[in-house]
Amino acid sequence: MMKSRFASLIDALLPVFATLAALLFGAVMLIILGVNPFVAYQALIEGAFGSTNAFAETLVRATPLLLIGIGICIAYRGSVINIGGEGQMIVGALLSTWVGLNISGLPGWLMVMVGLLAGTIGGCVWGGIPGILKAYFNVNEILSTVMMNAIAVQFMNYFLTGPMIDPAQAEIASQIPQTARLPEAIRLPRLVPTRLHFGAFIAVILAFLVYILLWHTTLGYRIRAVGQNPSASHYAGIKVKRYIVLALLLSGAFAGLAGAIQVYGVNFRMITDGSPTGFTGGAGFNGIVAALFGQLHPILTIPASILFGGLLVGANAMQRVVQIPSALITALNGLVVVFVVSSEFWRKKRQRKRLSVSQDEEHREAQAGEKQVTPAEKAT
């Protein structure tokens, strides 16, 4: 009993080991670049968690990662690989910004809800299309979501430099691609003096709700069943195709909400720098990293996204202190993904070992049992 608890503790810590391995790799790179890794990592940690303000920034950065991450939990549990977080977040933000700027006359709190709902719907559509294409036209969702990302980026560039451009920007030569600001009445409340906003709490609450959805409702059970064994689910009467669409659609919904919250809580407008990740800051990909790190469990994804939010915020501090571009952290995030999925190998290996040991025991017990049972059965 003690042994198996120890083993499951190691299993739970595997992502931590994976991250440490990635940081170790980063340390080697820093040494090659002539930088003291301790100084660099100290700057990183202080930049992320060193003060109230730093920690608030970390939480702000973690919010979209968490929202996208819990969507990823749903999708991957349903065995669909959603790489479209970027596009879904963009479309959600576009739709919610449009609603916020063009609909008026409702009370502020209601307007915020309508805006966030619009973002969620935008994400649903952008995730649902690849879902339908996968379920009914056999189009690989990895490819379609990547294509949908590229299309969303072009829509964003079009609207932010054209129909939705800030009237003030439209008049001057610089023409920064951004929309007008949302009226003050419809912004998410903040914990002043920091930028920490109400959206972070929404994300945490949703993480718990998604946990309940996945493990305590029929809907969640079916999504997971389809993910584990589609043909068995089919024979059990589950409409597999419908649940494939649903998994992608829900996953997109959270990404769309992440986009809306970014607009209503952080910038109060939609703004980009012309690059594909100009608005999202790569949250669509980093959300996947956070979800994997949280072992595709929505509640474990909460600390995971705080960790990666911290890494991203701290990377900027590191850049200031030791002049190492923050791109290093992107590279290390990639390594974390690789190491985490690779570490599954040891988990499975040990699981199998445990399984075969217990099977052997069962087998022996069964043999012993048979001898006793057989005469009794014969008697009846």
Binding site: I142, I151, Q154, F285, P325, A327, L328, G334, S342, E344
Partner: protein
Amino acid sequence: MISDLFNLTVILGILASGIRLATPYLFASIGEAYSQRSGVLNLGVEGQMLLGAFFAFYIAKLTDNLWLGVLAGMGVGALMGLAMAFVTIHLHAQQGISGIGFYLFGLGLSNLLFQLLIGTVETVRGFPRIALPLLSDIPYVGNIFFNQNILVYLAFLLVPVSSFVLNKTTLGLKIRAVGQNPEAADSLGVSVAKVRYFTVIFGGTMSGLAGASLSIALLNVFQQGMTAGQGFIAVALVYFGAWRPWGVLAGALLFSFVNGLQLWIQVLGIPIPSEFAVMMPYILTILVLTVSVSKVRAPAALTKPFEREG
């Protein structure tokens, strides 16, 4: 204005740019076709291309030798392929996700190295055009097909060669067997791991070359994130081409011609927002995948790790 497109010089211009634009797709997609045929989905192509583009550019700049640049690009692609092969073949890592990891790694590392080692926009004198004697004199067609740089010719040569290798050689038979039925291949004495290592490393090498073709033959500059999703499209083109080199060629050409068309739409100032023009190839890819994929079957063991029983 739209009628401007139906002018001989413009059409020839679209075709010529289409042929050039197809080059990186051909290298990367053909390489990816090898690895998918053997059962490994390498989603890290984008990252391999970025690192290939960076190292090719940097080494070419440093040594003033384009071929050393090409070698550097291929070398770093091969290393990335080796890493991908190790995690997917030996550690059974889920291929779709580890590929995303390698993409992020390549993106971050190429940005990091660019900022540290180059920093500003610099250009390199890329491979010159080579007009093939006689062939390039053929009216119209000659200039499109036979007045390109050496990497363009190599990319197009790769198609028939790969088709031959995959369909007519023992190596190709092994690759296809391993991707279709690894258990059977294994029982016949084919080393599944060895074949997959070969195809994934080869795929990485070709992705690196694809990156090099961008930075020292087509654009002659390195910019952060310059592949802009081309690596992912290269993976899509393999599905598009139904895992066959000639199919991949058809997909790459169609995609590049539409891309060439959208470039010319912008050049001619036709009043379609440029963003919608840029979108066209992506929408087209989704549409073609929708109508075509359902009829063709993927290699049966694609994305499935292989492990011997017992």
